[in-house]
């Protein structure tokens, strides 16, 4: 296990790549790093380069040291690297975790003045058409008036004229122009819209605020209700009320907020009312590291809620998966009348890269609501445990749901000889249907592997990139985008491997334990990281070579 001591990853940092540029911009909160990131990412993507960007920041509004890491490349890039080719230091200070990323070949630029100077420097290195860059920057600051535009253009030119030569030559990629540039939060939010989401209730909490913000800003255009609840308890209870009345609701939150939702989650299990929870993980316990990343809440998502009821937990590894799974979460919740939790983390929601245009038609909303007859019973016993779901005001029937144990009509019961056992069986047996519908894990790399690296959620891209740089060639990766229930064939992949390694951004190997419980297979090694930062490609290469 690795806690992330300083100086761990020196070796790979010496390798400068010729067809790729790794830039880090760091400075105090309030110095405009965010603007710089936005302008650079858009500009470089527009010019036809592959881009990956991720940020790490402190839980404060001013001061401190925040940084954005950007990879600009000839080939698609979608994971975090430690290596820095060019570091723009806007503030006076560096954090320990940034300092250790500086290698012998890192060019550090301080006192660059205006942020746009940094944009100019990068544009100069890439040899971007100066008039195109100037046009872009003018457009960007248009609303702020001619003086602001003039100042920024002057700064831009200053940077451009530095003519910094890092010995890097990156060719553009014709595919990039056809691709979109989004971060994980946007992918989840766009997926929700594709899945027919029309109600969002949430309490702001990092790292899930971005999803809430995005949907709130689209509320008027898409006719959805976006309400800031007084707390997460209200949020999930609103979501359940909304689903009960025929809406499709999502509640984005993080661990602490999810903790407050736990009784509501159990209520969803009892009412068999669908709900979609987008759980963006950050390091705990308690407030932990509010703006950092971790995969520490898998067990919590798995076991949250008193009583026994089934659930689905999804954990996208790519932006495309985030869009697709976020959309499918609504149909799964609706069809099986269970809570669906979409697990992401700070690293995932805050990371951008160019990716194929999302295709909403493939995951279109398929509401599973029935028009009720006069004798409608919400909890009618059926073979698979799934009762036709009516909603109030649609049909001649009445729809009653109760958090107490209830009979088929939803009324409170204490019939322990017949109704209680039947209702428990009804709820529990839905798990069999969920298992059948489970999403298969993805094998990345060669099929005749000897070593299998198992990961889930946000670690996918870094593991996949690391595979290509390993000494041994017989290593493959098995990524789970659905972590519960597991797909039936999961064990077959594990069985074929001589050696099993798990990679998790947590300290205790929660998924490894789950896999063992579900399949019986034990991991030979666990690679864990729990310092609040994501895995870099380099440290995975080192760990998997070892």
């Amino acid at each position: 296990m690795r806690g992330g001591q300083e100086g761990d990853f020196r070796a790979p940092l010496d390798h400068q790549m010729k067809n790729e540029l790794s830039i880090v911009i760091c400075g105090e909160a309030g110095q405009g790093i965010q603007t710089l990131e936005t302008v650079l990412v858009k500009l470089v993507k527009k010019a036809g380069y592959n881009v990956f960007a991720t940020k790490e920041y402190m839980s404060r509004v001013r001061g401190g040291v925040n940084s954005t890491s950007l990879r600009i490349s000839a080939r698609p890039v979608d994971a975090y690297v430690e290596r820095i080719d060019l570091l723009f230091q806007l503030g006076l200070d560096l954090t320990k975790h940034l300092r250790r990323r500086i290698g012998p070949l890192t060019r550090v630029l301080t006192e660059i003045g205006n942020n746009m100077t940094a944009v100019g420097v990068v544009a100069g290195i890439l040899g971007l058409d100066r008039s195109v860059v100037e046009e872009f920057v003018s457009q960007y600051f248009q609303a702020k008036g001619p003086e602001v535009i003039g100042n920024n253009l002057a700064a831009l030119r200053k940077g451009y004229e530095e003519r910094l030569d890092l010995g890097i030559k990156i060719v553009t990629d014709p595919l990039v122009k056809e691709q979109i540039m989004v971060n994980g939060a946007e992918a989840v939010a766009l997926g929700a819209l594709a899945g027919g989401c029309n109600f969002i209730a949430a309490y702001p909490m990092t790292p899930s605020t971005g999803i809430f913000t995005f949907l709130a800003q689209q509320a008027a255009a898409f006719g959805l209700v976006a309400e800031q609840a007084e707390d997460e308890i209200a949020a999930i209870n609103m979501a359940l009320g909304a689903w009960y009345a025929g809406a499709r609701a999502i509640v984005p939150t993080s661990g602490g907020g999810f903790a407050l939702m736990v009784e509501g989650l159990s209520l969803a299990g009892m009412l068999e009312t669908p709900v979609v929870i987008s759980l963006g993980m950050r390091p705990g316990p308690a407030t932990g590291l509010p703006t950092r990343t971790e995969q520490g809440d898998l067990n919590f998502a798995l076991y949250a809620g008193h009583g026994e009821f089934p659930r689905i937990i999804l954990a996208p590894g790519t932006l495309a998966e985030a869009f697709e799974l976020s959309a499918r979460a609504f149909n799964l919740a609706d069809q099986y009348q269970v809570p669906v939790i979409v697990l992401t983390d700070q690293y995932f929601v805050d990371s951008y890269y160019n990716t194929g245009r999302f295709a909403p038609a493939k995951v279109a909303a398929a509401p599973a609501i029935v028009k009720t007859e006069a004798d409608y019973r919400r909890y009618q016993l059926t073979k698979d445990g799934i009762s036709p779901r009516g909603i109030p005001g649609y049909g001649d029937g009445l729809v009653g749901v109760d958090s107490d144990e209830h009979d088929e009509a939803g009324h409170i019961t204490e019939d322990l000889t017949d109704v209680r056992p039947r209702m428990v069986e009804k709820r529990v047996k839905k798990l069999a249907a969920l298992q059948k519908a489970a999403i298969s894990p993805t094998l990345i790399g060669r099929r005749d592997y000897k070593t299998l690296v198992v990961c889930w959620g946000s670690t996918r891209n870094a593991v996949a990139e690391a595979l290509g740089a390993l000494k041994k060639r017989d290593v493959a990766c098995l990524h789970f985008s659905q972590v519960y229930p597991l797909h039936r064939k999961s064990a077959e992949y594990l069985k074929k491997a001589k050696k099993l390694i798990s990679v998790e951004n947590n300290a205790t190997g929660q998924f490894a334990a789950l896999v063992k419980r579900e399949t019986g297979f034990e991991f030979d090694r666990q690679v864990n990281k729990y310092d609040g930062l994501p895995f870099s490609v380099e440290e995975l290469v080192e760990a998997l070579n070892g």
């Binding site: 109600f199 209730a201 255009a221 009345a245 025929g246 809406a247 909603i391 409170i412």
Partner: protein, 274 residues
Amino acid sequence: MVKETAWCPGCGNFAILGALQKALAELEIAPQKLVIASGIGQAAKTPHYLPCNFFNGLHGRALPPATAIKAANPELTVIAESGDGDMYGEGGNHFIQTIRRNPDIINIVHNNMVYGLTKGQASPTSQYGMKTPIQVGGVFEEPFNPIVIAVALDAPFVARANAADIEQTKEIIKQAIRHPGYSLIDIFQPCISFNKINTFAWFKEHTYYLDAGYDPRDRQAALAKGLEIDRFPLGVIYRQENRESFNSHHKLTAPLFQSKPDPAKLAALIDSKL
């Protein structure tokens, strides 16, 4: 609906149920167009005893789903109904925030000044000095005053009724249903099993009817009425129609289940990320 109730014979809940059913019948609200959201407790079982759609959820949490149900389908009449412990104690913050949010729902609170289902502990509205198995030295906390809080938050409709007067309770419920925005009806109701102090006779002695000259549109007067706690005034204490409701703010007019996603709009939004 269930015929046999879980209430004690002589419980004030029967009177409230009767008044509610009469009000609904007189307003000709079809059971299919009615949703009652409730929490936990004896009062919260009310929706099982009349024909209606119901969401009998968690303790203290009737108001958030009621708000969302009304938002998801504005064509429904939505009532959130529970006891004083549920609405003012466990759900106290939702009570405050729901009044601020102002959904077009009716909030009926059965106020018997005691916890019944858990057998006789103090509730937020228990009066000073009430001795219980827990509050052995008597209640020392200031009783919660829902009327003053609701008026302070400019709730559109604030009323207090006495369950013993079924006719007046019914009339107030009817007015509340017709009134736009959030309505609070706090209904005094004796718990004949666990509250030996606040009995039918006590409520009769400690209440009076607001006279015909009282103007419920006068907010200052309403606050003053709310602060009267030696003899509690009964009737519509405050009403106004000035506030934007949750539904009108979100421009919700049609049921959300009928809304169809617009693929072209979504495609355009995705393309804006090119």
